[in-house]
């Protein structure tokens, strides 16, 4: 039978372009507290509603509500707030440093801080995070030295990566933070292998890996999902859906055909869809999946729904492809403001304390930046040139040694 109409090719387009009114009507979600919380050992087949719901704990009035509320101690909440605020202030300072030519490149995680900070606090020492480049909050929550970050960003003599990596592509093994790279997605399978190794050794360590919404289109995402499913890897596999992959909106990765959490269904992996700007919800979902993984029930896929407030990087101008007031219209608010409101609502915080904390952290960041600048900004006082030839192999081969001499690095 012939078609009644000629075929037409569908090209997805975002709901609003520059000059248009921001439109998040595509994003529908339940009230905080409305999504059920099955026991973490529940068979996947009995939880197929969860990938289409949204786990939320923080209500509009700042209260923590519903079955996903873990009744976290004020201490944890204070640590989360501190780490998120530190991340944001650090980002702002380093972004400015880029404008001043002190670094070659920068990427902010503004608006997404909860998705890095809460997992950092929820995981145990010995677990490993396989992060994206928008997750410095993970290190902030673990009191990683700001000096290491600044020196890496400036690629100066104190750079732990020895000047080999773009800014933000950190590695911090002792802090449970796996080596980053700019190619997206290709560590997802490492997390699964790492988790399989933990199971192989009969350890109790788990892996937690992150990709963005855009990266779910990469083959490596699906390969990792298959292996996680087949071998019941004790891993938490996360999609940080921040709506934008540079200029490609989440619909370009299939986000308008289904949810990213629902990608788990085809693999038989539980899928949780979580309000990524609700630090209590992120923490609770991480804990749920960690409990499941440690009980040898395998991997969980989590979608954190959030919004990339900043441009993709210091080289990107998002006003060229999305409404410049889109961030203000984002319906899930700001993670720092929401946690702050919650702490105030439960009598554990105040505007005065908040301002004092911001001042303290701003000073910490300023001091770290100054110390880094004194050691050297981009192009000044880099690590010794001969180190360029180290770590290609465990021991340099004759080419490394010859070329080190040839480059003049030995003299």
């Amino acid at each position: 039978m012939r078609n009644q109409q000629p075929l037409s090719l569908h090209i997805p387009v975002p709901h609003a372009r520059p000059g248009e009114t921001p439109d998040f009507s595509y994003l529908t979600f339940p009230e905080a507290g409305a999504t059920r919380r099955p026991d973490s050992l529940t068979p996947e087949a009995q939880m197929r509603d969860l990938p289409y719901s949204l786990i939320r704990v923080l209500a509009e009035d700042g209260r923590a509500v519903g079955p996903w509320d873990q009744h976290l101690s004020p201490d944890i909440l204070h640590r989360a707030l501190r780490a998120m605020l530190l991340t944001r202030l650090f980002d702002d300072r380093m972004f400015t440093a880029h404008h001043q030519g002190k670094t070659s490149f920068y990427m902010k995680s503004t608006g997404e801080e909860a998705t890095a900070v809460a997992p950092s606090l929820a995981l145990l020492p010995g677990d490993m995070c396989f992060p994206t480049y928008r997750m410095v909050g993970f290190l902030m929550a673990r009191d990683y030295k700001l000096a290491n970050l600044v020196n890496q960003i400036f690629a100066n003599a104190g750079d732990p990566m020895r000047g080999r990596q773009l800014p933000l592509l950190y590695s911090a093994r002792e802090y449970g933070f796996y080596t980053l790279a700019g190619n997206v997605g290709s560590r997802f399978g490492h997390a699964v292998g790492w988790a399989m190794a933990s199971a192989y050794r009969h350890d109790d360590r788990i892996a937690m890996a992150f990709v963005g919404d855009g990266t779910t289109a990469e083959g490596s995402f699906h390969e990792a999902m298959v292996f996680a499913s087949v071998y019941h890897a004790p891993a938490i596999l996360c999609v940080t859906n921040n709506q934008w992959a540079i200029s490609s909106y989440q619909g370009m990765a299939g986000g308008e055909e289904t949810t990213f959490a629902a990608r788990g269904i085809g693999y038989g992996l539980p899928g949780l869809r979580v309000d990524g700007n609700d630090v209590l919800a992120v923490y609770a979902a991480t804990l749920w999946a960690a409990e499941r993984a440690r009980a040898n029930h395998g991997a969980t896929l989590i979608e954190f729904v959030t919004y990339r407030v900043a441009g993709h990087s210091s080289n990107d101008d998002p006003s060229r492809y999305r409404p410049s007031d889109e961030a203000g219209a984002w319906p899930l608010g700001d993670p720092i403001e929401r946690l702050k409101a919650h702490l105030i609502a439960i009598g554990e915080w105040s505007e005065v304390l908040h301002e004092a904390l911001a001042t303290e952290l701003r000073e910490q960041v300023r001091a770290a930046a100054k110390a880094g600048e004194a050691l050297g900004t981009h192009g000044q006082n880099p690590p010794p040139k001969h180190e360029m030839f180290d770590h290609v192999f465990k021991e340099p081969d004759w080419r490394n040694l010859e070329q080190r001499r040839e480059s003049g690095a030995d003299s």
Binding site: M161, T179, F227, D397
Partner: protein
């Protein structure tokens, strides 16, 4: 010592390492219960249990990426890619991840993985079961590439590869699995039985990565070869009566440059033989290295005898595969030049 074929020697290396090191585990397509399409892992699952030797989904990218994660954890995974032709879905993992993990992390993470893959032609495999992709790996900083030519070396090199803390691509010339094929496809296939290098210790031993072997000392011309082509070159030397020095590289990265330069400085002539396509093949690197280091001792142009720059053609296998006759012709050209 026991007489082993190359596939038996590889099997023995895996057996020895599974026995010796609980951090060693093996996985790949069909390698578990079935024992692999070439039988390299036959019986190992039954002997060591399913978590030591197991099947995987048909996903080379998934195999290598999970191996890297396990390596970062502290294990020593040995994975099999069923045919080297099928390694390309894993290429991103090998190039962008395995090779650079140590470098980019400032030494914090590394991937002590061994990737085994049967490679090369002469088995009527057509263009999807005959490839020689070694140059795709030798070009990558951070990868080691090993190719044995005898049962003794296959076992000793594989054990050394597994114990390496760097990622190793271990290419097995599958035409040599069951016998020392010398390119004379018109003659009956010979088994390894009776071959000197088929005498293999049953236990643990290593052949160091980065050392070449002189298979036949000679004065007239140096032949650089690896894998199946070592045997083809020896045949060519025998048939032509030319007093060539035949060097089996064994290890492309790290390369035993001293053995190569010493030989070419002695003979003043060099013929490079490989199955892979010529253009940008590993022979191009060898040729450049030899002229850089032996220029004033060279008495003739450096000759390359290789596969043609086409995909591997099924019906024209013996026109494509560098024959003893073509190698001998290369030797004569090197002597005339």
């Amino acid at each position: 010592m026991t007489e082993m074929s190359m596939i038996q020697a590889i099997h023995s290396a895996l057996d020895v390492m599974l026995e010796r090191d609980p951090d060693v585990l093996i996985f790949g397509e069909d390698v578990g219960y079935f024992g692999g399409v070439f039988r390299a892992t036959e019986g190992l699952q039954a002997k060591y249990g399913a978590t030591r030797c197991f099947d995987t989904p048909l996903s080379e990218g998934g195999i290598v990426s999970t191996a890297i994660g396990m390596g970062a954890y502290g294990l020593r995974p040995v994975v099999e890619i069923q045919f080297a032709d099928y390694i390309l879905p894993a290429y991103d993992q090998l190039v962008s991840e395995a090779a650079r993990l140590r470098y980019r992390s400032g030494g914090e993470f590394w991937a002590p993985i061994t990737v085994r893959a049967p490679y090369g032609g002469g088995i009527h495999g057509g263009q999807t079961h005959s490839a020689s992709p070694e140059a795709l790996f030798t070009h990558v900083a951070g990868l080691k590439t090993i190719i044995p030519a005898t049962p003794y070396d296959a076992k000793g090199l594989l054990i050394a590869a597994i114990e390496e803390d760097d990622p190793v691509i271990f290419l097995e010339p599958k035409r040599l699995y069951n016998g020392p094929f010398d390119g004379r496809h018109d003659l009956p296939a010979r088994p390894w039985t009776g071959h000197a290098s088929a005498e293999v210790p049953e236990g643990y031993y290593k052949v160091a990565l980065g050392s070449a072997a002189i298979r036949r000392p000679g004065q007239a011309v140096t032949v650089l070869a690896y894998g199946t082509m070592v045997h083809v070159a020896l045949r060519a030397v025998e048939e032509s009566g030319i007093d060539a020095e035949v060097i089996d590289l064994r290890s492309l990265v790290p390369l035993d440059i001293d053995t190569i330069t010493a030989s070419v400085n002695k003979t003043g002539r060099c013929v490079i033989v490989h199955e892979a396509t010529r253009y940008s093949g590993f022979g191009a690197e060898l040729s450049a290295l030899v002229q850089e280091r032996c220029f004033y001792r060279l008495e003739a142009q450096i000759i390359r005898v290789t596969g043609w720059d086409t995909p591997y053609p099924h019906a024209f296998e013996w026109d494509y595969f560098p024959s003893p006759q073509r190698v001998a012709e290369g030797l004569r050209r090197a002597l005339e030049g």
